[in-house]
Symmetry: C3
Subunit: 675 residues, 3 copies
């Protein structure tokens, strides 16, 4: 349990009473009760308020709010307020201001605005975190710490340049090693002194989004920046932990947010939390995948849904209302996939500035007689009903999908073969095929042990890190099914090609050689022609994006290309290796192929869905000791009939046993305990 | 009359003989006579010529031109030449150079290039204006002053930052007030010292076009910049007025140009003038609306058409020729809507630099045997015929449309609910509905008295300024018909939400509450379903963009939504309030709805068109004492039959009485005096 | 012959063994032999390697490579390595770093990165070139010098600003002349001191791509920058020539690369070389035209194909593989059009950084058993067969197309009449019409003598340089056929309009006056209506982009516009002038019109194709003394039948006589010697 003080699914969200007159808070507390809200995230952006100048701190305002919340029975997720520095600090110590990708020194404004290598920022962010910890360490309302807010963005200032050189010395020890790692003899970029190295931005090696002359330096700068921001987090973490070793600490992540390697971050987080902001047209399976990724950051440990909107967002181009039932549906989706909290941004809408049209439990009208509030209150009541039953239960998957930030950076920094290759899209294609068939998957990093899985899918495993190929071989040799795709096995951690033929270090386990890689224009396609019918697959399927021209070296051909000069060359192969199989998909297939393919693989492994797939209906399972919970989520705009056969289960929201055939309303949810 | 020296519609335009050898001017004067041209705008960009260095001025070249024009019978609109500073000034006093939105110090180049808070610019621009006034105050050719040229653009330099802080102190007195007005506790932006405040640009709070973290500072910076440029104008105005109190002063505006609040500017202009540059595909009703807006800046006082092209422009992507007749048609459109001048940019085409492919009365060929010249001469002759008959006549409208620059800034700075909401488009939709039915409208500001109107339409009245709701209530209570739309009544002048339910201060008069605001994707729509047939309206109409979800609180429902989860909720309501009615249109309707709707409203008020609508034919009326002039403008590419019934009128261009049925040629114009 | 040491078509390419361990080079040499590779371009980017700091040079690595290549029978094209400066130089002497178009001082990175007016760069680039010349002047492997690499890009730093002022003083002598040449009285830009002039970039007169307030300064800056980079080249050229007067020197150009006026450059090149990188969807006739342009730079002298990819590129959005046969086909296309070398970028794929996915003769797999290698080896064998037979043969064309960099700059810097006018497109339209009919053309500059041609086509000859109109008149008077189009004859070399009516100085020879120029929107078109059938032309053809409204002044009307208000006005005219004809095409026609038109013109001049056109089959002829070589290139994806009638010829690749009917396979090539 995240904190045993509140042994249920936490319900609440960001709350800024310091932006309001005091009577408003009293009204808020009344409504929190109506809505079943029991957690408020405080102090997210109040640094300027608490520290009006360099020498003075004033937390009285926060004391009052903490106390009043406690009296009212609301717990606190306490932020450290370092997500945006005060204006006075920017004026007095300009080193806190970033230099942006274009090389421009920023002025005061916005958020995500502090240079992570600024001595001033590091000093004062840790200091205020420590002051908060000292002050509130024994406060009865305090449940958890929330460091800073949505860490993000990069800086390219001289402090960062210096720190980058230090980071590089640590990593490479000598310039010879570095020059080799970055292949600097290309274009005559050999470095003879450390301080010849400058950050890669629009003034030096990079341009636009993800274009670089040297992948080596660009990759390392991303690692370095992710580490630099993480260092800021760790400074606060340590300052707090000294005083409250017993309390969990988190920071709110942002799903597949590209600039930070969250697998590194999660190591220093007591519990993962994240902010979920799908748009009206985000595929539900992409949201599900992102939950699974967040769960995977700490090997399946339940996570916190730290933010979602009760209805509207404000920063999309077109900010649709969440349709009736959708907020609840998506909240249960989070829980179904491992969340032990349901929290909103925000409890009360702000009255001015750029987020005032972002949805809130309490809208500008200020009372509870709104559709949005009613839906929030309904969910609040249900979460109270569910009590602690689901807490700490785990998803148990036999299939894993590898997701790697560093690999994504490298894939998308690549100059050639195609600009259309987007790592998340390719991962999602495979995830979606599992999702559509109600097969649970874990998203795992490259450090995660593979031996617990039956099937491991690693789409576009372009970068193969030291020792990873060996681990894949061990996995397959021991009976595992491994699957990877085109443009895999190409480079090492520095984006240096593994010579001797693609897919490099994976060539052995896959039993193939990829001689060439053709890039297709968006209006071009090829075909996957099955050599013979296999399970759900037969005939032809469309594919595109990239087409590897492969030769088998031991692998068996399951399908060939249908056209172009490489017609008849293999496009789908399987290699028997030890007791297992290694599959190679040489192009990017259409969804129907992937569903058939994944279905075949799972059937071979005896992996079955708890319920047969129904279009638009999501299934997820959580298990705790001997209890098993099944979530059935109807994303359709109309009700569906569920044929549950002889499934014996209790509907946890009604306490009733379910029957063999149930109707589930549009956007409806069933939370069942299987008996 | 603008100046009684020339009691007719002035005809002429920008003229730069200083760019040419002297014999060319003699040839020009010969052709001016042929074309009936009697006004030349001089000295628009000659600062560098008149002031070759800091200490010396030389106006001899201008003396000669002024005298020669006078001898030849051409009057002068005399510009002050401060629209672009000299190169020597930029080198010697870099403070005249702007810092742009990206934070970059500009170098010498272009025009609109002076920092409005540059001490150097302010000093020397006022000084040269005064020198000109002293020198030419008694020149017989001088008709009017033309200060600078097309003021525009913003600056973000340190001088501006300082001046901005001063402007803010003036407005807010204390930082407490300012912090509250901008809601700076959001994202922890509290200011403790004035000099912590920096201009909002791409280095601080803004990005791209109209994106900001803090609407409060961004709105104020727009006000401040509009004021700063206006201050420059006023410095020159006062310098001139000292010497020529009897002569009118203007500067050329640019229609709906967004960065400057022209309602503030017009207060300091003796006569409004503007530059009209529609493209081939600009709706004629949008041009008409812009004329009406320019007329509205000074409450209906006749204005000057300062610039239009005789044919081609040069800065559009595709610069079509004005088709035969179009230049004349669009000139009369200006006159029909209140212009007492018809002036061109330019009288002679320049031989080099970026405007050399902009049309002119005298083209590069240099003689009068061109289509363009012939059309100019034809119009010149007609304007001589019209003599002083139309001068000082006024448009009399019973319908007003509210147009507010500050509201536009706020609407388009809003983060959410949709990026697709463009203020001018929404205003134009309502204007167009009136225009298509030959109903005259005034475009008015928020200072304008409402009591003279029967119907006041305020599309997207998002920002409700102090006291304005009360004025609307008074207007309606006294029998007026008020109409506003979705996303109205939301904020005050600082973009701070009026709490307690939308549409805030307008909720009382409208008798509704808007609970939520749904944003539709561009490919989505809803329907306006009439509760019962009403006048020209029945059945269903399409609507989109935003859909307010409203509840009536006294208002009557005239139509409901046709689909989505808010199907059946009101989309069109009317509230009886005192003796009047207040209408609310909760979404953005298709044109056919608006035409029926506006037609119903006008019929209820007894407002009738002087002539029944004919597609593509524009009607406008000007009235002076007991004389009434009717303009009929055929924008079609073919002739139309006019059924004029028993209208008794004289064609002012032929002196003939019109008959009950007249044929009007393609692009043809009738200027009638009604008897 | 470029160098008689190697009397055959050179075959090889860029080679960087210094990026590899030594054993790799041995393997490379083995494979070079297999592939028939006899030339390696060395040292392109090794400045940092050879000069590790300011005072030390180390060429031992290069000695070894040169010697080893020589031993192995491979010749060397030796680069000077100055295409990218070392990192230490950027740190120690920041003047080598450019200031970019946005006014930003660059930091170390990329290539094309040296300021051409940097004293440091000029000093050390010439110095290393001289050191290389001294060291290798007698090396037996050395065939040719390759200065720097793909010169390109502009700089806007203070050194460049100073040098620009010096360049301007040289050109204009006085500011009065300059002010007049740039028409600076427009917008009051008169300069009184030289140092008031700043480079035209995004901080001063320009914005985006090709937008400027003053065409005069922008044109001159382009000339100045082209000259500045050329000065850098010349410094190296002279340093080398001192030591190796007998060896040819080149630098690799980039076809129609806009920023550099290659006609000026070619004067200082002993042989032209260029890098040919078409995309999958580049029209083959555009590639052919570019070869012809490169050949035209030195009046038909054979050129070097310095770079092409064996298969894939890496910097296109979608990098298709070159289909089987295409590399060979395109190699022969180069030879057919005048190349005496076939060289690749690159011989071995790099292992890291941004070009590692660019194709190479030796791929990452490292052995010869690849499709790409096999195709390279096949071509290598053929080139050995061809021996010296084709060397020094010339293309002989009776048609010339004028191509002028300065004119292109001016056309595309123009503000109005349309943004859609792209010079290369218009030139290519006329080239393509010739190409489709197997008529050989030369691309010539404005210095080239016209008297050798029967037909001279000058599309959009917007800028008419001093004396050029006279040369056109002489050409026509003597019987030549001259053809130009809309928007021609408008300005002089400073973009100052020639007054008195378009097409200015060409009006006399063309016998027309263009009164107006209409710009069409992309979805608009007009028609060319033939006055009577003429040869292959009759009826109507579509046209668009711009439509000149012309009047004949002696010319005969061959076709008129079909619609709009200028329906019936001439669109195609011909003027008899002396013994010749001058044609004017007043709009941009569809291809079928141009093919008919060009066909008529050629027939009138008795110009006939060596073989009747077959769709997709390219023909080119090279002639040497009394030997004539015919290339037949099948660009189709299927084989074609060639009906060769009584053509008597030997297939040089088989030694066989051809028969009257031959089948040519998809992508196949015939190299015939006509008997």
């Amino acid at each position: 349990m995240i904190n045993e003080k509140l042994p249920k699914i936490w319900y609440g969200g960001d709350y800024n009473p310091e932006q309001w007159d005091k009577p408003v808070m009293e009204e808020d507390l009344r409504m929190f009760k109506l809505a079943g809200i029991d957690v408020a995230t405080l102090n997210v952006f109040s640094w300027a308020l608490s520290q009006p100048d360099e020498d003075n701190y004033d937390f009285q305002w926060l004391d009052e709010i903490m106390d009043r919340l406690h009296e009212s029975g609301t717990y606190v997720c306490l932020a450290t307020s370092t997500g945006a520095h005060p204006a006075w600090m920017a004026k007095k110590y300009p080193d806190v201001l970033r230099v942006d990708f274009e090389g421009r020194k920023r002025k005061f404004g916005g958020r995500h605005n502090s240079c992570p290598n600024s001595p001033t920022y590091r000093k004062y962010s840790a200091l205020i975190a420590e002051k908060l910890a000292e002050r509130y360490k024994d406060h009865p309302a305090l449940l958890i710490w929330h460091i800073s807010n949505e860490y993000g963005g990069y800086c390219y200032c001289d402090h960062c340049a210096d720190a980058f050189r230090g980071w590089l010395k640590e990593r490479y020890a000598t310039l010879d090693t570095l020059n080799k790692a970055w292949n600097t003899r290309f274009w005559g970029h050999t470095f003879y002194e450390w301080d010849e190295i400058v950050p890669p931005n629009a003034l030096s090696e990079e341009w636009g989004t993800d274009n670089t002359n040297f992948q080596g330096i660009s990759l390392d700068y991303r690692r370095f920046m992710s580490d630099s921001l993480l260092d800021c987090y760790k400074l606060e973490y340590e300052a707090i932990k000294k005083h409250t070793p017993h309390l969990p600490i988190t920071t709110n992540l942002m799903g597949t947010y590209k600039p930070l390697d969250y697998f590194q971050w999660a190591k220093y987080m007591d519990v993962v939390s994240w902010d979920n902001y799908p748009s009206l047209n985000t595929p539900v399976s992409l949201t599900a995948m992102t939950h699974d990724l967040m769960r995977g950051l700490k090997q399946g440990q339940p996570f916190m849904l730290m933010e979602q909107t009760p209805s509207q967002q404000n920063w999309q181009p077109y900010n649709s209302l969440k349709r009736p039932g959708v907020m609840k549906l998506w909240s249960y989706q989070a829980v179904a996939r491992g969340a032990d909290t349901v929290m909103f941004f925000q409890l009360r809408r702000s009255v001015g500035a750029c987020e005032k049209y972002h949805g809130a439990v309490i809208e500008h009208v200020g009372h509870e007689n709104t559709r949005v509030f009613r839906e929030c209150a309904e969910l609040g009541a249900e979460l109270q009903l569910l009590s602690d039953s689901l807490l700490d239960s785990r998803v148990q998957a036999r299939v894993a999908i590898v997701y790697d930030w560093e690999n994504r950076w490298a894939v998308e920094l690549s100059s050639g073969p195609t600009v259309a290759l987007k790592y998340v899209d390719e991962v999602h294609k495979y995830y979606d095929a599992l999702f559509q068939q109600n097969i649970q998957a874990d998203l795992i990093g490259t450090d995660t042990d593979l031996s617990g899985y039956d099937i491991v899918i690693a789409p576009v495993l372009y970068m193969v890190k030291k020792g990873y190929a060996k681990r894949v071989e061990d996995f397959v040799r021991s009976g595992g099914t491994f699957l990877t795709t085109f443009f895999s096995g190409i480079v090492n951690e520095n984006d240096i090609v593994t010579l001797g033929g693609y897919p490099g270090e994976l060539r052995n386990v896959l039993g193939i050689w990829a001689e060439e890689i053709d890039a297709l224009f968006p209006d071009q396609s090829n075909q996957i022609v099955m050599s013979e019918p296999w399970g759900e697959l037969s005939g032809d399927y469309s594919c595109g994006l990239l087409c590897d021209l492969i030769h088998t070296e031991g692998a068996q051909v399951k399908a060939v290309y249908g056209s172009d000069f490489y017609q008849g060359m293999p496009v789908l192969t399987v290699n028997q290796y030890g007791s297992g199989q290694a599959w190679y998909v040489a192009s990017s297939p259409e969804p129907s192929f992937l569903q058939g393919f994944i279905s075949n693989l799972c059937r071979d492994k005896g992996i079955v869905a708890p319920i047969a797939p129904i279009p638009g209906v999501e299934i997820s399972q959580r298990i705790k000791d001997d209890r098993s919970f099944l979530f059935i989520l109807n994303h359709n705009d109309s009700s569906v009939n569920l044929e549950l056969g002889n499934l014996r289960a209790i509907d946890l929201l009604t306490g009733q046993s379910i029957s063999s055939s149930e109707s589930l309303s549009a956007k409806g949810v069933l939370v069942l305990e299987i008996k």
